[in-house]
Symmetry: C2
Amino acid sequence: MLTQRVHVDRVFHALGDPTRRAMVEKLSEGPLPASKLAKPLAITLAAVVQHLQILEESGLVRTEKIGRVRTCRIEAKGLSVAERWISERRSEWEKRFDRLGKLLENPE
Amino acid sequence: MLTQRVHVDRVFHALGDPTRRAMVEKLSEGPLPASKLAKPLAITLAAVVQHLQILEESGLVRTEKIGRVRTCRIEAKGLSVAERWISERRSEWEKRFDRLGKLLENPE
């Protein structure tokens, strides 16, 4: 439970930054070398590397270094954590509406 | 398109903070007066009010003041924006896998 909470914290912290979200958007279209992420986002390679570390720790991105090239690709785990958190909120909230509906049907 | 982007930015910025996520979690269970949010989260009412403003601006929470009580409730709009952003990433990514699969089936 605690691990799950830490994971949720990491994923939403990672997605809270617009540059990191732009990196996730870019990588959803296909894997890229880290160097190719810097230019379209108008940030330095050093900044890309820092953001990548946060994205990797949260399970949103996976990177692999072959020779001198670090290839980055999207990872399913992180997005699933965020999806699950949102759908849990929605289901709690819908359950409450169901209870309210039943109460209105049978006020006794 | 730009408005959509601004909305995505606001929602993920709002959800990036663990206290605000805890407020959304609490409110998914049912509406509450702002004062009742402060105690379980061990923060001041002033901090609650600041967080509520960010949550309201992003469409995650709606508040209504009747007399001296400000009642807070979850709003569907904000969560839907986050859900849509995630599912767009997933669908782009799955489309790519489909293309790869077809390429492997028919390499000519």
